[in-house]
Symmetry: C2
Subunit: 282 residues, 2 copies
């Protein structure tokens, strides 16, 4: 087990240890476990390390990001939403437990993310407020939740490529952006524009890679059901065709590398992580 995995698992345990024993604790532990890539925590922690700070004090913040990501998956998988039965290589929470538990697990994870931030012991109140503003705007009614609403509304409708990209940025890109901004806020950066630009293209790339994988690979390899294809949702790949989509992917690679250069983040732990995302060998 890598040091990251060990410390991250420890932060999950620290979080769960505060719970009284209940079915909620069991279900939250289940939701947080599994084969998740922990991408959002890694983005934040590697950026902190690349700016010369020790990431070890910030695992509970990284967990806050993973709690939010997990909440969004648990709610998206519900029968009334995407109705997925497999996630992270195992049955979804509403299958392993029940629907009521899945709704409440999501509600608890979302709420607890804000506890984890506000109760952090070494950040200033001002940094905490910055983090909470960043996160809540990224995932609320002008962010991730709006993206999910637009996604559901788009089923069976003609949406333009622009609308599709905006929707994907809200659904997926905003939380990735928040993860990078978390690192920048902890590192006491004063300007966030270049980070946002990097995050913008990373979000677009990440979704495009998903769509390309969805087209090219079997559902079983991905470890989740192929619900988008089954529902015939439009993707950037179905709009552009495979070849143009792959060209666009390379364009994003270039823009992301330009941002890394501009931020003086080349040859750091953070840029190594970004390169593994670019290569999708993550």
């Amino acid at each position: 087990m890598t040091k990251f995995n060990e410390l991250f698992e420890q932060s999950i345990q620290n979080y769960l240890n505060k719970f009284p024993d209940s079915s909620l604790k069991k279900a939250i532990a289940y939701a947080l476990s599994g084969t998740g890539k922990r991408l959002r925590p890694q983005l934040m922690l590697s950026l902190i390390a690349s700016r010369g700070l020790s990431p070890e004090s910030f695992y509970s913040l990284a967990l806050a990001l993973e709690c939010v990501h997990t909440y969004s998956l648990v709610h998206d998988d519900l029968p009334a939403m995407d109705d997925d039965s497999m996630r992270r290589g195992k049955p979804t929470v509403h299958i392993a437990f029940d629907e009521a538990t899945a709704i409440l697990v999501g509600d608890a994870l979302l709420t607890d993310a804000f506890s984890l931030i506000s109760e952090h012991t070494s950040l200033s109140p001002d940094q905490k407020v910055q983090l909470i503003t960043t996160l809540s705007n990224a995932i609320g009614s002008r962010g991730m939740v709006l993206g999910q609403v637009l996604d559901i509304a788009s089923e069976g409708k003609n949406v333009s490529l622009n609308e599709l990209e905006e929707m994907n940025q809200l659904k997926t890109g905003k939380l990735l952006e928040a993860s990078i901004l978390f690192g920048a806020i902890v590192a006491n950066e004063s300007s966030f524009e270049d980070y946002k630009m990097l995050a913008h293209h990373l979000g677009l790339l990440y979704q495009l890679q998903d769509d390309l994988l969805e087209t090219l690979e079997e559902a079983t390899v991905l470890g989740k059901s192929k619900s988008d294809t089954v529902r015939n949702k439009p993707t950037t790949v179905t709009y552009l065709g495979l070849e143009k989509a792959q060209e666009l992917e390379k364009d994003y690679h270039q823009k992301i590398r330009q941002s890394l250069f501009k931020l003086d983040l080349e040859h750091t732990l953070f840029s190594t992580l970004i390169e593994t995302i670019i290569q999708r060998s993550y």
Copy 2:
């Protein structure tokens, strides 16, 4: 329309005005409207006023409390949870819209509550962090959500009166307590113990009154379906019998009035509000 109602409606409009037009905006507006008593906002704002501050700057904080309360109702009403079809005198969100929308409306309201706090323009970062810690602990996996989990788990089981009270305190009392603590934090109080004691008994009273009303009145008068009785959930009244429950109610009245005296809050706007709750003429 009273000044409170006018300013509170205005704070809802200010909040909704930030949304792009979407079905989400419409559904959130629907969820927040209706015959709600706005008890939690009033608790906070009347306490602020009673401590000599102008409440007008704090309506967006009061809205944060109402957003959280509304989210909890929208999710609790879902078919997988209490399966209620009427709320605040009109069809529940999943009936008026659909289940997916109801899940997402709840998620958005919960998240946006934290935006409303963190983006407040006149509080200090330290106060905001105190508010967010208070709220997230009150409603997360050690608070309101845990109460809901225990409530569902209690169906058809023998729970003791103590367990029942603890469950009710988590489900209902914690957010009422947070509403009072919000007022105390804004008023820059340094000790919260007496406020917590007052809130504790107010929470117990409020739930007991609900149970008594549920026993004595018809569902139609309450404007919501009589789901607890239909599901045969135990209540304090079924445990103690009507007479002893009414004695307990009076005991709570006394304890609450003692706290008001201790906090030097007699003959204020806040104590007037508390008295209307005690008289249930609220």
